[in-house]
Each structure stands twice: as C-alpha cells, then as structure tokens.
Assembly symmetry: C2
Amino acid sequence: MTALHPSREQFQLEEVLAALGHPIRASIVRALASGEEAFCGSIVPDVPKSTLTHHWRVLRESGVIRQRPSGRKLYITLRRDDLDARFPGLLDLLLSDEAFGKTAWQPSTT
Amino acid sequence: MTALHPSREQFQLEEVLAALGHPIRASIVRALASGEEAFCGSIVPDVPKSTLTHHWRVLRESGVIRQRPSGRKLYITLRRDDLDARFPGLLDLLLSDEAFGKTAWQPSTT
C-alpha cells in the first residue's frame, strides 16, 4: 500500500484551502502542528474511523498530510515544510487564529 | 429582499477557507480584489447564473462578500476590511499566489 502524495509543485491553493476548511480537518492540522508523526487513531480519537477515512484522503490528496503505513497502522505527519515553501505564512496564519480547529466535534445523535 | 450577512465577529475561519477553496469562488475573489462594487453578471461572465447562485450564497454566508440588491440587479463587493480585520494577511497571502483564482473555468461538456 502506497498512498498517493502530490509533490510540492503539484499543490493547488484552492485544494489546500478546501482541505483546511472543515472543522475536523482543521482539528487534525492543529493536532499535528508540532510536526511530530502521530498514529492516525490517536489524533482525533472521538471521531469514528469511517468518518476519518474520507478526511485522510482529502488532506493527503491536497498535500496537507503525509501518510506512512507501518504494518496495519497508519502514521500521519503534517507536510509543514512543503506547505510553508509553497504558501509561506498560510499555516502560521491559520494556527494563530485561536478558534481554528477548536470547534468541538459533536457526534451525530441520530 | 435582504441578504443575510454575518457580522465580522461571526466569521469562522474554517467557513471562510471552505468558501475560498473552490476555483470559481477563488476567481470571484480575485475579480473583486480591487474593492470596487461589481454587477454580479459581470464578474465571471462565462459561468452560468444557475451555477453562480450557489456560489454567491457560500461566499455571502461565510462573510467573504456583501450583496446589495438594486431593482432586479445584484451588486457584489468583497468584504475586504472585515476579512482583513478578522484574519489579517489571509487575503493578501491568497492573492499573492499567482495561480489562485486563475484556473480556467471549463463548461461541462456533458
């Protein structure tokens, strides 16, 4: 299994914005902001795995994260260097907004 | 007819990013960047009106644009001051990206 990761040159700003413009994905980006690699199950533990599968894909295909499979686990890093190189200041700007990525995720009650 | 416009304090960064993260909406923002009010039919003239109705709503509800009805026409401005006040540097950063809002819009051939 090799996840498809666009090269830095292939990033498109509109796609990156669309990827970042969602409460769960914004939480993921904030959780990964330190740059440390994280096990995918530990990043937003309250969100069901089936919901996350879609979000990993959107984040990966736009270039926001890198996925590294290891055995049956998946490890995630924020592609901070690549994003900073292509869109200087964007991540800093988003992470400096206190509310970004902090909307509590509410499980559906239906 | 009074369009619903959120106050500056109601803006949410994730919603603004989602609004900006679309090729047609990015083109609209670029076209309005000068700050001049524009007739809605003149901004992205190649895009069908039925397609645009949805995009005006997304842009308006997130706080990116202001709509002013005048007779049967609708005039649009970018809420640049409000966006700059809430998310300083964001619009400048996006508009400094040469490709942002310049993806040619392709009419569907189906």
